[in-house]
């Protein structure tokens, strides 16, 4: 009897055996074997439809399932990292897949097991950098970041933009914020140079509530984006600079005003520095919710808008922060708030994370367009986010959809009667 699975075919694609794995690849495969196999043996793809990139490209190569299967294929000698280099670019590191995976949902609670896809993507990208196979635009972006000490958020083409260390505190003009102190507000690059209304709003909220804070002495990029794109050495170097700077000026507490920084400070920094990292890290959303609860910040100016809230991936999916922003929105007088629950929003994203807009801006734009389409169905006039990196692509899509995109802290400042100043775009 001929069994149906025995194929009588010749491959017409060139399947020339890939080069044997080198040391770096072997270490990658060894490290991720178990995690990858937990997925390969399931392969059920519950992660597919929540993945913002796959929703757009509809290409199975860009699914978490493939990211894990590739590890097994490499192990078996079928693929090399070169073969999948571009695939691993297709990820915003939003973490939706990890949450939606039944292996996390059902087994996770008991064994604290989790399908780790974001880490696999980052490790694969790090390998690309190690082997000199990194993508051109990421290479340029990170080279410029290394030169400027801040990300080139105002553009990579023209060296004359007001970017880099000389301009890193320009946003704070006239606000009279001290340097140093026990608590500092860490202003990430997109906020410091691009959407300056955000750090201005936050600084004035804290001043109004009488919350003491300063700015960092010599603030470099947090190093998070570099880590997300695979530039681990650079990320660690920047992190080292920052914690040395904090230490030198007696800092004990860091306010992360941006979710990516928050992830980086609470996950990567402790991984880099172990016990040496003993700083307290506070997310601005948690802090402001607390100030409102304590009555230290009064929201009195009504805002006549119909809004919905965009759960930033790194707050909702990566760090489980979803209640505080809703609490804040409900505390603003005059608002009509049409909420979409956080689990539904596992499938939402702006496309602004993980370096995606640098390499694949068209995918980011389409992810944001779809996010605004969802908002439009609710007939709102404003989409409120709490992640400055999401706000650039969302705003562009919002312009098309006739919906304004605001940061939660800008709304809070407005309702607290603050004249924010600054700008929302370059």
């Amino acid at each position: 009897m001929t069994t149906a699975d025995h194929t009588e075919r010749k491959n017409t694609v060139d399947l020339a055996m890939p080069k044997p794995l080198d040391e770096v690849e072997q270490a990658f495969v060894d490290k991720w074997h178990e995690n990858a196999y937990g997925c390969f043996s399931s392969g059920h793809k519950f992660c597919r439809e929540v993945c913002p990139v796959t929703q757009v490209t509809r290409n199975e190569n860009h699914t978490p399932t493939a990211f894990h299967a590739n590890v097994v294929a490499m192990e078996k000698g079928h693929l090399n990292i070169e073969d999948v280099a571009d695939d691993y670019v297709h990820c915003t590191q939003c973490g939706a897949c990890e949450l939606r995976c039944p292996n996390t949902l059902m087994v996770g609670d008991f064994y604290r097991a989790r399908t780790e896809t974001v880490k696999v993507v980052r490790a694969a990208r790090a390998m690309l950098v190690d082997k000199g196979l990194d993508r051109e635009k990421w290479k340029q972006w990170n080279r410029l970041t290394d030169e400027l000490k801040n990300e080139p958020v105002l553009g990579v083409d023209d060296g004359s933009q007001p970017n880099g260390q000389a301009y890193v505190r320009n946003w704070a003009e006239g606000l009279d914020i001290p340097i140093g102190g026990e608590t500092i507000m860490f202003v990430d690059c997109e906020a410091a140079f691009y959407r300056t209304s955000l750090p201005r709003a936050i600084a004035q909220i804290l001043q109004k509530a009488g919350y003491e804070f300063g700015l960092m002495n010599e603030q470099w990029c947090c190093g998070g984006p570099a880590a997300e794109m695979g530039y681990v050495e650079q990320s660690m170097r920047f992190a080292r600079h920052n914690i040395d700077d904090w230490r030198a000026s007696g800092v004990k507490r860091i306010i992360a005003i941006e979710p990516h920084d928050y992830v980086h400070f609470t996950e990567d920094y402790p991984a880099y520095f172990g016990d040496e990292f003993d700083f307290e890290v506070i997310q601005i959303v948690d802090l402001v919710a607390e100030l409102i609860r304590q009555g230290r910040l009064k929201l009195t100016v009504p805002i006549d808008r119909v809004v919905t809230y965009h759960d930033p991936c790194r707050l909702n999916k990566r760090k489980g922060i979803h209640e505080a922003p809703r609490e804040i929105l409900r505390a603003i007088p005059g608002l009509t708030f049409k909420d979409v629950d956080r689990v539904t929003q596992w499938a939402y994203c702006s496309g602004g994370g993980g370096g995606l807009p640098i390499e694949k801006p068209e995918i980011t734009a389409e992810i944001s367009r779809r996010r605004l389409e969802k908002a439009a169905e609710l007939e709102v006039d404003t989409l409120v986010s709490a992640c400055v990196w999401s706000e650039r692509p969302l705003s562009a899509a919002g312009e098309e959809a006739g919906i304004e995109v605001k940061d939660l802290m800008e709304m809070v400042a407005e309702s607290a009667g603050i004249e924010i100043g600054g700008r929302t775009r370059a």
């Binding site: 009588e8 075919r9 491959n11 694609v13 043996s41 793809k45 290409n59 299967a69 590739n70 087994v107």
Partner: protein, 502 residues
């Protein structure tokens, strides 16, 4: 046999049809479309690669691709979600893999005639998210609800967990557009009307083109049933100290005449044992629990409220103990994810091993269920003894007939397979284990598959036996519609239709 090569000329022509970004030839694209969630001979991964992947966006593109393939005698394999458990979307002869995920649009929501028209690449849950605001739903509800796509549901003619109430895909898909193996685009339904559920015109071609696993063409658009979203839902699980009582309770509930019954389910003692020993999410039940029977109701609030009282009485009538409100609604709500994550099993000495899940399904008359279950476990035990590769994860049964939750059951045995350890001998042992399980079903007057399909080795060889004399008609249809055997060749023994040449 279709073994023509896909050369650069063919690839260029494909690019001309679907555009640059719709043709993938790189290795990663091929390796990632060579398998589905079912166990897989990893040691022979490269035998299952397609030669090229295309991602069309329109029926016209699909038609042009199929015409090209027919001209050159190149195999064509449709792939939707790639979650089928019978390898339907796995290429056996290389060729062109037509990945349908980009055809994921909702074309029309018709709330007057209660239909929705979609592309084959849309997922069921995604579709229902869009329908929610209109108060309607498409009630196809497999455990793979979050991952299966409409094209694959038609390709497999699968089973919905709510089939007793709302019907299965064969009942819920009203009509569809399909590209034939020679490239023509036709519309099939019960008769001609796209939104007509019942007709007496002509032959009922819709069912011919359902569940053929891509061997008779490629569905490019489907018009589906919309039902009102259920106002109320109620699920109850009953615990039993022996199988027989649970089995008889299943029939009592199934035959009760409760119209809101969504489905009835049964766990055998081996399943309960397995959950107890190796399922991390199992909420511990007392030792005396040997079997479980469960049912769910869907409908308007007054209907469900009244029926829930009947259901509770029936569930308890033979000694069943209600599991409690803390567990029942949640276990039912988790039905899509709950049993999809077994990551380990055991060898004969109780040693924990990393294992993959294999689910073998069949349709079996109610009266034969105890005998089939006994034989299935005996067969599995024999293989477990001989090879340290398998584990018995127990069986469950489900009401099978649409709107008729009595008579025959979907029976599934879940097997653990130590896939990483597979060599050719182990793989062949697995295939032979599967074949024995399927043969048992035929011996008891059943069908070797109720929902996954008979495209997998181990089942495929038995298709001619199950079909009996009608196998000749099946081959004739295949040869007539697909004269060059390009559509998903090698599946279901259909190559036999071409003995003596195409």
């Amino acid at each position: 046999m279709t073994t023509a090569t896909v050369d650069s000329h063919v690839v260029d022509r494909l690019r001309g049809i679907v555009g640059e970004d719709g043709v993938l030839t790189d290795k990663a694209s091929l390796f990632n479309r060579a398998r589905v969630p079912a166990p897989f001979p990893v040691h022979r991964w490269d035998e299952y690669l397609p030669d090229v992947v295309v991602l069309p966006r329109t029926a016209q593109q699909v038609s042009a691709v199929v015409k090209l393939a027919n001209e050159y005698r190149i195999p064509v394999v449709p792939r939707a979600g790639g979650t089928g458990l019978a390898d339907g979307a796995v290429p056996l002869r290389g060729g062109i893999l037509v990945d349908l995920k980009r055809m994921d649009q909702i074309h029309e929501i018709d709330l007057v005639n209660n239909t929705v028209t979609v592309g084959p690449g849309i997922n069921l849950e995604t579709l229902n998210r869009s329908l929610k605001q209109h108060g309607v739903m498409y009630p196809d509800d497999p455990a793979s609800y979050a991952v299966a796509l409409v094209g694959g549901r038609i390709g497999t003619s699968g089973l919905s967990l709510l089939g007793a109430r709302y019907g299965h895909p064969r009942d819920l898909v009203i009509s569809f557009e399909i590209v034939l193996p020679t490239g023509e685009i036709i519309q099939v339904g019960d008769g001609g009307g796209r939104k007509v559920r019942k007709s007496s015109t002509g032959y009922h071609l819709k069912q011919l083109f359902m569940g053929h696993q891509g061997t008779l063409g490629i569905v490019t658009e489907a018009t589906l049933e919309l039902v009102p979203r259920a106002e109320a839902e109620f699920a109850a699980f009953f615990l039993f100290d022996d199988f027989d009582k649970a089995y008889r309770t299943f029939a009592k509930i199934g035959k009760s005449g409760i119209a809101t019954l969504g489905g009835v389910m049964l766990f055998d003692p081996e399943k309960v044992d397995y959950l107890r020993r190796d399922d991390e999410a199992y909420i511990v039940q007392p030792k005396w629990v040997k079997s479980v029977c469960a049912a769910a109701l869907y409908g308007t609030r007054p209907e469900v409220e009244a029926a829930s009282k009947m259901l509770m009485e029936l569930g308890r009538s033979l000694g069943g103990r209600y599991i409690g409100d803390e567990i029942a609604p949640w276990d039912w709500a988790a039905r899509h994810d709950r049993y999809a994550n077994p990551l380990h099993g055991r060898d004969a000495n109780g040693q924990v091993l990393p294992m993959s899940w294999h689910c073998e399904d069949a349709a079996v008359p109610y009266s034969e269920v105890p005998a089939v279950l006994r034989k299935w476990h005996e067969i599995t035990a024999r293989y477990m003894e001989k090879y340290e590769l398998f584990d018995d994860w127990g069986c469950f049964a489900y009401s099978n007939g649409a709107h008729k939750p009595w008579g025959d059951l979907l029976l599934e045995i879940d097997l653990g397979l130590w896939e990483e350890k597979l060599d050719e001998e182990g793989w062949q042992a697995f295939v032979s284990l599967k074949r024995e399980i399927a043969q048992t079903v035929l011996d008891h007057g059943g069908s070797i598959t109720a929902c996954h399909g008979s495209t997998r080795t181990g089942d495929a060889e038995l298709v001619p036996i199950e079909m009996g004399a009608s196998w000749e008609v099946m081959k004739l249809l295949k040869r007539t519609l697909d004269p060059n055997n390009i559509m998903n060749p090698g599946k279901q023994c259909l190559d036999e239709a071409y003995q003596g040449g195409v």
